[in-house]
């Protein structure tokens, strides 16, 4: 299948999935207990007139389907509605906060890829005590959820040693990077362990294959055999894991941003959920779904480059 046809088909599938997801998200919000009106009034008893005014402003009395259609219609015009808590456009909120989240996820991803691949590579190639040390370290990393890592790192490097700020996003880009360092490490730790394990296992599997011995028998130097044959062949597995890693980063960023008070969409999701800020929660959920699908699409499009035996859009052969 040609690249363009494949991409077109996948984009159509993505649109359909997004549509389905939007229905589920909106429905879940509709069914969830508590109403925006009661939050806005924050427990005060309101006159029936005031309640009516609020319901009218947010169209809360309309039938479900009408509310849903109004919402999706607005989204198609790029309008995610107005935040109840912040009393500003949701799209504005997102535009302000998305960069910090994307930067945080990118920093964590760089850490995960660099350290995960390096540790996995060294473990597989060196073996012995080095490998055992890496196995123990990665087991530790794998046993540490990102919110625990966040608290530990904050306590040690921000509070005790004072090397990094305890939270916030700072002023300017350099300051932002500095503020995001600890959150990125907290976010990356678990996934570094995971990628190291996956890389190590994939490389060990290739190392046992005949073509690696055959390459050595042709006089190819050991480091070239590792790079050109072992690591190269392990890349397919690494790429597949990469999709999972980015998705996990997007999920865990909610916890880590909250822990470090990073003003990204993760923290916004947490805040808006607790305040029943329906329009914001719906918008962020939908964006998350879109990001997941984009990540998967990119992984699928890259796969044939990494493994020429894979063809775009083909079902895996049973063999």
């Amino acid at each position: 299948m040609s690249f363009l046809r494949f991409a077109a088909r996948r984009l159509a599938e993505m649109a359909a999935t997004l549509f389905g997801a939007s229905f589920v998200i909106f429905g879940a919000m509709y069914l969830a207990p508590g109403s925006p009106a009661s939050f806005l009034l924050s427990g005060r008893s309101a006159s029936p007139e005031a309640l009516k005014a609020i319901n009218a402003q947010y169209h809360l009395d309309d039938p479900f389907l009408l509310q849903y259609l109004r919402w999706t219609g607005q989204i198609l015009h790029g309008d995610f509605g107005r935040s109840i808590t912040y009393r500003t456009d949701v799209s504005r909120l997102l535009a302000d906060r998305l960069p910090a989240t994307l930067l945080l996820v990118a920093m964590a991803l760089v850490l995960v890829v660099a350290l995960g691949l390096l540790l996995g590579w060294i473990g597989a190639v060196r073996g012995g005590a080095t490998d055992s040390t890496i196995l123990v370290t990665t087991t530790f990393a794998l046993g540490t959820p990102s919110f625990v890592a966040a608290v530990l790192l904050q306590g040690l490097f921000a509070v005790e040693l004072g090397w990094f700020p305890t939270g916030g996003t700072g002023e300017g880009f350099g300051d932002l990077l500095w503020h995001l360092t600890l959150p990125a490490v907290a976010l990356a730790l678990y996934l570094i362990g995971m990628l190291a394990r996956v890389t190590r296992a994939a490389m060990l599997e290739v190392l046992g294959q005949e073509h690696v011995t055959a390459a050595r028998s042709r006089g190819v130097a050991p480091h070239q055999v590792i790079r050109r044959h072992v690591f190269r062949n392990a890349l397919g597995t690494v790429l597949t894991t990469g999709g999972l890693i980015v998705s996990t980063l997007l999920v865990c960023t909610v916890l880590v941003e909250s822990a470090f008070s990073v003003g990204g969409i993760g923290q916004l999701l947490e805040l808006s959920t607790t305040t029943k800020d329906f329009p914001t929660v719906q918008a962020i959920s939908l964006i998350m779904v879109g990001l997941f699908m984009t990540v998967n699409l990119v992984v699928d499009l890259l796969h044939p480059l990494v493994d020429p035996t894979v063809t775009l859009g083909a079902r895996r052969s049973p063999a």
């Binding site: 294959q209 005949e210 073509h211 011995t213 055959a214 390459a215 050595r216 028998s217 042709r218 006089g219 190819v220 130097a221 050991p222 070239q224 050109r228 044959h229 190269r232 062949n233 493994d307 020429p308 035996t309």
Partner: protein, 326 residues
Amino acid sequence: MTTLDIQAYRLRLPDTARPVLAGVDLTVDARETVALVGESGSGKSLTSRSVLGLLPKGAATEGSVRVNGEDVLTMTPEQLRRLRTNTAAMIFQDPRAAINPLRRIGDFLTESVRLNAGTGAQAATDRAVEMLEAVGLTGAVLRRYPGQLSGGMLQRVMIAAALMGDPALILADEPTTALDVTTQAEVVALLSDLRERFGTGLLFVTHDLGLAAAISDRVYVMYAGRIAETGPAEALFDRPRHPYTAALLNSTPRLEAPQGRLAAIEGRPPGLREELTGCPFAARCPLATYLCGQQAPALLPVPGEPARRVACHHSDRTGEGSHADA
């Protein structure tokens, strides 16, 4: 000069009761084709891999394995790479397993000379096309991936790769076992032809006696890490002197003389965890006597046939014994 000269070669693996190779003597002269025959586990593949210094982890070796006069066992990694690039090359059993499926055929063929001999990309590609044509393929396969070629074509690619460094010696480790019968015949014919044309020595490792007889000048029969018998192919198969050779011949299916059930050799080869005193074949041998269990026979010249050597206390009785047994 002898291209390959293996002398008193012993190889021991960790946690075993006896050496896997217990004193192997084997030579291949320039332009000579030598077959190394034996069952699975006899040590024949280990012997051929040793020639390229491809030893299993923890292997302890004695004796010498000389290629063009230089001992492989004492080579530095740098010398080993030069040996593997320019002097000796191996053709593996299953080309589908021995060629990286994710790299193009062109990369497979030129990798070694580009990385080691410093040959430029264009010169390496020219050489690759030349070698592909020598094995009956064209330069069109250079851009292909292994999955796009048939098993027979891939084995030709493997042979072309072995020829890339213009080696003095080619080691073929069961090169036809993974192929279908018609392709086998083509590959064997190709190997004979190329040996003539490029003047390389060929060590042909196989469990197929018929194939060994057809292709080789001389044959070594290996059993439990030792050479049981050696000699010119024709004489050895006409009048085997070792009961094991005789038994192998009897258990080979023949088209011209159907004989009903095949005569399998009773018992199994000794495991690596068993200590061996005496002749390793004694437990399965119809001629075995008390002496065979006590003392290992040396590989000695056969009286009247100086080109042949056999390691058997009862080699003079082999003819009758095994035939009566069959």
